[in-house]
Amino acid sequence: MSGNIDPDVKKLVMWRIDTSMPNHFKLVMGDKGTFTKEELKNHVDKEDEIGLKIVEMEMNFIKALTTGEFSKALAESYE
């Protein structure tokens, strides 16, 4: 399975992984496996099933930020 990720989106997601994921962290993604930072970047670069899932998760968060959904949810936690 492979996708067709917009090159700018791909660059953004790889940059976010590169700059915010510590080297001693690993991502455990259910039965898909456990991934180091370099492995995640490789999957995004290859646009395979894992890479597409990572992109989807990053874009979900960015969408929540830009629509205000994220800040609204956090504001509710004060109520």
Partner: protein
């Protein structure tokens, strides 16, 4: 009162070994409350033993910790293959009228909808978490994984305390929100922001199907 719960917890890879440890905390909590716990783990975690406990003991609360997909919850690995415990269209009736928390990937999206008369809490995307590689052989000491498992465990903990399914999920979401706020205050700490993003995704993936007011009582 139906005072019985069934917990499945294989342990053969990173995902299942962390779930195994955190499910163990719920088992201790339940046993301290005098609840009868059927703890299905290797070598007893098979489809046959699962069906037997469901049919003969009829636990009201079923807590899955394993891998899954849209239509399936798996158990242990048998001869290198994940054994199917529950499959939509084959034996999902075993979960009818039960209160289920399925800490497995994706099973809420189809299997959860197929079960009737009860409540199914689960995920419609992979339940994901970060681990600290320095502690990956000792889940109890891994404070990174704890960020993700505490809001998950509180669902099971709230249920055995007698809260409704809906209240249990809300408590989980509230805990995640508070953790996100704390992490945002520590955003210069390594790893804080990746944890925020993943916690958000787990929150979005949490799904509840069926009777939201159902209780373990």
């Amino acid at each position: 009162m139906n005072n019985k719960i069934l917990v499945t917890r294989p342990s053969y890879d990173d995902a299942t070994s962390y779930c195994f440890y955190y499910a163990g905390l719920i088992i201790k909590e339940a046993e301290n409350k005098g609840i009868n716990v059927y703890d299905l783990k290797n070598p007893n975690l098979t489809q046959k033993s699962f069906a037997k406990v469901m049919e003969e003991k009829s636990p009201l609360f079923v807590f899955f910790n394993s891998h899954g997909d849209e239509k399936t919850v798996y158990g242990d690995k048998v001869e290198g293959e994940e054994e199917v415990l529950v499959q939509e269209g084959k034996n999902h009736h075993l979960l009818d009228s039960k209160l289920v928390y399925s800490r497995t990937c994706l099973s809420a999206s189809s299997l959860g909808k197929a079960c009737t008369g009860g409540c199914f809490i689960g995920y419609n995307m992979p339940f994901s978490f970060y681990v600290d590689d320095n502690w990956s052989t000792k889940p109890a000491n891994d404070s990174t994984a704890k960020i993700f498992f505490e809001p998950s465990n509180i669902i099971a903990s709230s249920i055995i305390k007698g809260n409704t399914a809906s209240a249990a999920v809300n408590r989980s979401l509230a805990m995640s929100q508070k953790t996100i706020l704390r992490l945002l205050k520590e955003k210069t700490e390594p790893g804080s922001m990746v944890c925020v993003r993943l916690l958000w995704n787990n929150m979005q993936a949490t799904t509840i199907e069926g009777d939201r007011e159902m209780k373990f009582e």
